[in-house]
Symmetry: C2
Subunit: 463 residues, 2 copies
C-alpha cells in the first residue's frame, strides 16, 4: 500500500528495448589510471603477445584498453542476456517498514538465474569471445562453485567445452554445485588431479591434500596452455570482468533515471570486486566527470580485509604465482582466510580498478563480521522473501546500518545496494548460524604481517 | 535475433497495475460440479462446522463454495505477491531453435522466489486468512520441503507461528530445506515425534521408523486441533488451493492477451493438481463457457499414475485416514510410490476439480518415466538456462514431444506449459541421472490392485 502513494513499483523491470547495448569501461574516465599488469619476470607491463597463450585475444584487448569508454555488446550476448536479464531493481518497501526508516532502499537483484549470481554476466561474454576466436573450449578453476556454474551454463549455450578444476574439498563437500555443472555438460575435475603436471607433482608431494584455489588455478592454466584450442578464463578481479559486469550498473541507472530516482549511497560487497565494480561503474563515471556525487561503500569481510587492512602494492593475483603481477590492495597472495568464513569474498586482493579508486579517496570501505552479516541476512530474508547469499549479505548489513542512521537523523536518503545472489548453496553456513555455532574471525596483526611478508619485493614496490 | 522479427520479448512481465486482483474459481463455470467432501463417519457432505476445528473459517468458505466465480484478493496478499510476482511468461526461443520446430513455445515460470515453486501463491493466502481470524499460527506437514518452505516464508512475513512436521527421512536427508525453513523462523519437527500422541504411539510401535507423509499429516492435524489458536493448512489437492493458484493462469492469460497470443495446447505436471489447476483455470473457464477451445494435457509420473491408471471414486486424502473423503482419481491412500522416484508428484490422488474435468473428457492425461523426464530437463536447462525441478520437467517432456510433432506435421501450434519450480534442492536426483544410475519404475497391475483394495467401500463407491 505504501507504494501506491509513491507510484514506484516493488520491482522495476526494464523493457528489452531499454537494455544496455554497450559495456562501460570506467577506466576511460579515470585521470589517474589503474597501474598496468606486470610480467613477474621482467617487471615490465604485460604485452598482448605475452598474454595470448593464456587468454582469448578480444579479452586481452579489453583488459589492456583503459581509454575506450564503450564496447558494443555483441548481439549473441545480448540475446543470452534476454533469457535472464534485465534483472529487477527492487524497492525494499518491506525492509523499510520493518526498520521504520525514512530512507528509501533499493537493491539490484542478480540472483534470478540458475548460476545464482551475477557471475553469468561475464561468463557468457568470455565464452562468446572464445567461440568467436574459433576455440574448442575454456578452462577455469572454481572454489565454492558459483563461477564454475556460470561458465558451464554459458558454454552449454554456445556449444563450447568447459573444463572446471574444482578445489577437491569443495568437490567433495559441495556435490550439488558439482552436479549443476555436470548437468550443463562441464567436465569437473577435483584439484589437485592426475590430469596435469602440477597436479601430479602436488599429489606426490602432499598425498591426501584437499587442494587450494591456487593449485586449481595452476592446473586450469596448464590445461589451457598445453591443449590446442583452449584458453583460461577468470571470474573476477580482472578489468575485463568489471567491464562486462558494468551491465549491472547500466541497467540500474537506466531504471532509476526512468523513475527520476537518484541514489545518495551505493553499497556493494567486495571480494575480487566484480560485482561492486559493475554496479558502481556508470555512477562512478559521473563522479569522475564531475557531473554528480555519490557516496560509494565497499563492504568486505573482517576475516579477509584487503581494502581496510591491506597494502596497495604489486602482488600476485593467485596463490600459485603463475599469473601476472597486479597493483592492488592485497593481504599477500599467501594469505589464507579462516576456513570458518562462509561463502566467497575470500580473495586476498582486489580489482586494480577499485583499488585505484579507493586509493584516490573516491570510495569508502568497511568490514563486517560474519555473524552480524547473517543477522542482517535473516532479517532481510524474512521481510523481503529472498534468501541472500552470504557474500551479498555484507551489503545488506551496511545498507541496514545506513538506513538506521537515517532513522536517527531523519534524513530521507536513497540507498542502493547490490544483491549479488542467492544462498541456496550456502545452507551449511545458515545451519551454523541457526544453531548458534557460527564463529567470527578477525586476523591478528601478526597473521596479516605473515601475508605481507610474501609480497614480492622490488624497487618501487615497498610495503 | 529471432525475437526481433516476432516482436514478442523473451520474457513478458506484466505491470503491477495489470496484476490480477481477484482469484477465479473454475467450479463456478462447471455444469457438473466436483463431488463434495464426505465425512468418513456419516458419509454425508462435510459441513462448515465439521471443518472448523481443523481449517480456518474463510478457507472453509472458499473450499465449500462452488458457485462464486471470483474472490477478491486482499490488499495485503496483493502486496506480498508484488515481491515476487508477476512471474515471467517466457518465450522459449532457444528451445524452439534447438528443436527446429515451427511451434511457438511459452512457459510460465514460477520458480523465481526463495521457496522455489508456485506453492508460495497459496501459502501466503492461507497464512493471511489465519492471521485475519486472529490465530497464533498454523501447522502443516512437508515431505520434500517445497510447501513447508513456502509456508515458512509466508508466516515470517505476517508474524505467524509456523510448525512444520517434516517426514524424518527428509529431515535427515534434506538438511538444506530444513535450514531454509528455520531461517524463516519455522519450528521444524522430524515426524514421527514425541510432540503428539499419534507420534508417540507410532514411535513406540515402530522404533527407528523414518516416517511417512501420512504420519506427518496426522501429527500436524493433532497439533492444530489440540492447541488453542492453531489451524492446519495444506499445500495442494484442496479446491481452495486451486483457487489461489488461479493467479498463475490469470497472469498468463493477461500476458498472452496483451500480445494477441492464443495457446493451442496447455500442459502442466500433475501431482495433487495445484499447479495444473491454477494454470488452466481461466482457460478452462472459457472452454466450459463455450467461448474457446484448448487442448489441456496433465502429465504425471508413470510411477504414480493416478489419472491414467487410477479409479474415480471416493477415497481418503491422506494415508493416515484422518481427513475427509474426496471423490477423485486415486491409486488408494495406501499406495506408496517407488522411493526411486525423484521429487514430488508422489500423491496417490488428484484434486477433485481436475478429476471431474478429466472424467468429463475436457482434459487429456499422459504419464512419463523419470529418465525421459530428466533427459528433457537437461536439454531444457542447457538451452534455456533454468535448472528445472523434476516435477516441472514432466511438463517440459510433453511440451517437447508436442513441439516435435509440429516439426513433423509442419503445424505452427502455440504450446504453453507451466514451469513450476527450480531443481536446486533436487541435485541428488540429477546426480543419479548424470551417473546413469537413475531407474524407471512402473507399478505392476498387482501393485495397483493392492492400493485399490484399500479404498473404502460403501454403496455408490464401487471400483
Amino acid at each position: 500500500m505504501k507504494n501506491e502513494a509513491n507510484k514506484i513499483p516493488y520491482k522495476i523491470y526494464l523493457e528489452e528495448s531499454e537494455m544496455p547495448t554497450q559495456y562501460y569501461n570506467v577506466r576511460a574516465d579515470m585521470k589517474k589510471k589503474p597501474a598496468p599488469l606486470l610480467n613477474p619476470g621482467t617487471l615490465k607491463p604485460m604485452t598482448f603477445d605475452e598474454l595470448r597463450p593464456v587468454f582469448c585475444d578480444e579479452l586481452i584487448r579489453q583488459e589492456l584498453d583503459d581509454t575506450t569508454a564503450y564496447f558494443d555488446i555483441p548481439q549473441e550476448i545480448q540475446d543470452f542476456y534476454k533469457m535472464y536479464r534485465p534483472s529487477p531493481l527492487v524497492r525494499a518497501y518491506c525492509l523499510e517498514e520493518k526498520l521504520q526508516t525514512p530512507a528509501k532502499i533499493y537493491y539490484k537483484f542478480e540472483g534470478n538465474n540458475t548460476s545464482g549470481s551475477h557471475k553469468l554476466n561475464s561468463a557468457i561474454a568470455q565464452a562468446y569471445y572464445a567461440k568467436q576466436q574459433g576455440l574448442k573450449g575454456v578452462t577455469t578453476e572454481t572454489g565454492a562453485g558459483q563461477w564454475g556454474t556460470a561458465l558451464s551454463m554459458a558454454c552449454a549455450y554456445l556449444g563450447l567445452d568447459c573444463k572446471v578444476y574444482m578445489v577437491k574439498v569443495s568437490y567433495e563437500q559441495k556435490p550439488f554445485r558439482r552436479e549443476v555443472m555436470r548437468t550443463y555438460g562441464a567436465q569437473v575435475t577435483p584439484s589437485p588431479s592426475e590430469s596435469t603436471e602440477i597436479g601430479r607433482k602436488i599429489l606426490s608431494e602432499h598425498p591426501g591434500t584437499t587442494g587450494s584455489l591456487g593449485c586449481a588455478i595452476s592446473e586450469a592454466v596448464e590445461d589451457a596452455t598445453t591443449h590446442e584450442g583452449y584458453r583460461y578464463v577468470l571470474g573476477s578481479v580482472l578489468s575485463q570482468v568489471l567491464l562486462h559486469q558494468s551491465i549491472i550498473g547500466l541497467e540500474t541507472k537506466t531504471a532509476m533515471d526512468k523513475y527520476g530516482i537518484t541514489p545518495d549511497v551505493i553499497i556493494g560487497c567486495a571480494g575480487g570486486g566484480s560485482n561492486l565494480g559493475g554496479l558502481i561503474s556508470p555512477f562512478m563515471g559521473e563522479k569522475l566527470r564531475g557531473e554528480k556525487d555519490y557516496h560509494f561503500i565497499a563492504v568486505e569481510p573482517a576475516s579477509c580485509p584487503s581494502l581496510t587492512r591491506g597494502k596497495y602494492v604489486y602482488d600476485f593475483c593467485d596463490t600459485g604465482m603463475v599469473c601476472p603481477l597486479a597493483k592492488m590492495y592485497t593481504l599477500g597472495s599467501g594469505f589464507i582466510p579462516s576456513p570458518s568464513h562462509a561463502g566467497g569474498l575470500r580473495y586476498h586482493g582486489m580489482s586494480s580498478i577499485l583499488s585505484e579508486l579507493y586509493d584516490q579517496g573516491l570510495m569508502e570501505a568497511r568490514s563486517a563480521e560474519q555473524t552480524e552479516v547473517f543477522t542482517a541476512a535473516e532479517e532481510f530474508a524474512r521481510v523481503e522473501g529472498i534468501l541472500p547469499a552470504p557474500e551479498s549479505s555484507h551489503a545488506i548489513k551496511v545498507a541496514i546500518d545506513e538506513a538506521l542512521k537515517c532513522k536517527e537523523t531523519g534524513e530521507e536518503k536513497t540507498i542502493l545496494f547490490g544483491l549479488t545472489g542467492t544462498g541456496y548453496f550456502d545452507l551449511k553456513a545458515y545451519e551454523q548460524y541457526n544453531n548458534g555455532t557460527m564463529k567470527d574471525y578477525i586476523p591478528t596483526d601478526e597473521e596479516l604481517q605473515a601475508g605481507f611478508d610474501g609480497i614480492p619485493k622490488f624497487p618501487g614496490n615497498e610495503i
